[in-house]
């Protein structure tokens, strides 16, 4: 249940540089192999009054499957790959300011399933407690889903989509100003150590916001 809603800018902007440092400390310093982390930022849609979780920032580390799929060539179908590459080319020219630089491997190499899942996440938002991130924010409690079978039967479309793209663990932890989501292609069981690390790293205060 993800919905694209035109929201007014959120009241606070988090400094993306410090967010990246937090992601890096969380993911690169972990024993577990997390594939990505996302900070969903909460805001209120002024027109409707709906609470909204939208893209704040993300960190994509990748996984072993990325390397294997590129090497062995067992990635998504040719048509799907062409679609992904076309989108990536358009996005690349968009962030490059429409420059006419020649195509390079960054947009010509295969876009793996987990890369695509991460990219698509940038377009998603969650209204009034919808989806796993929204439920975590609404309840104030972490949600930890370990196992492809559990993701598959989730009521949340995003969780089911995650399973289709090869993810086996999805975690959403409410923090100040939003929700931190972690995903992995590995099976990772709930641990207080990880939960505490997320809460510690993402306990924002006013001086850390732009």
């Amino acid at each position: 249940p993800t919905t694209a809603v035109a929201a007014t800018p959120p009241p606070m902007y988090f400094n993306q540089e410090t967010l990246q440092q937090r992601f890096q400390a969380l993911i690169e310093g972990a024993k577990e192999k997390w594939t990505y982390a996302i900070f969903w930022q909460s805001s209120v849609d002024e027109a409707s009054g709906a609470s909204l979780l939208g893209w704040g920032d993300g960190y994509y580390k990748g996984c072993e499957e990325d390397r294997q799929k590129r090497t062995l060539g067992n990635a998504a179908s040719a048509a799907e790959q062409e679609h992904r590459k076309r989108v990536l080319r358009e996005l690349n020219s968009l962030v490059a300011g429409g420059g006419s630089s020649s195509p390079d491997e960054v947009v010509e190499e295969e876009v793996t399933d987990t890369e695509w899942f991460f990219l698509v996440s940038m377009t998603q938002s969650f209204v009034n407690g919808a989806g796993i991130p929204g439920q975590a924010l609404f309840s104030g409690s972490p949600i930890w889903i370990a196992g492809g079978d559990r993701l598959q039967v989730s009521a949340c479309e995003r969780a089911r989509q995650a399973e289709v793209f090869g993810l086996r663990t999805m975690v959403c932890v409410p923090v100040g100003g939003g929700v931190v989501e972690l995903g992995s292609t590995d099976l990772i069981f709930q641990s207080n150590e990880i939960m505490n690390k997320i809460r510690f790293l993402f306990s924002f205060n006013a001086t850390e916001m732009e």
Binding site: Q41, L94, E105, E115, L119
Partner: protein, 31 residues
């Protein structure tokens, strides 16, 4: 449509930069 919100633009640029690093670092396929 060219109207990419600021946070997504930064995230996307960083994703593409890191993707390039990953691809460059990847061991080439030995035939």
């Amino acid at each position: 449509d060219g109207d990419l919100p600021h946070a997504r633009r930064i995230s996307l640029r960083r994703f593409l930069e890191k993707r390039k690093e990953r691809l460059t670092a990847a061991v080439p396929y030995a035939s």
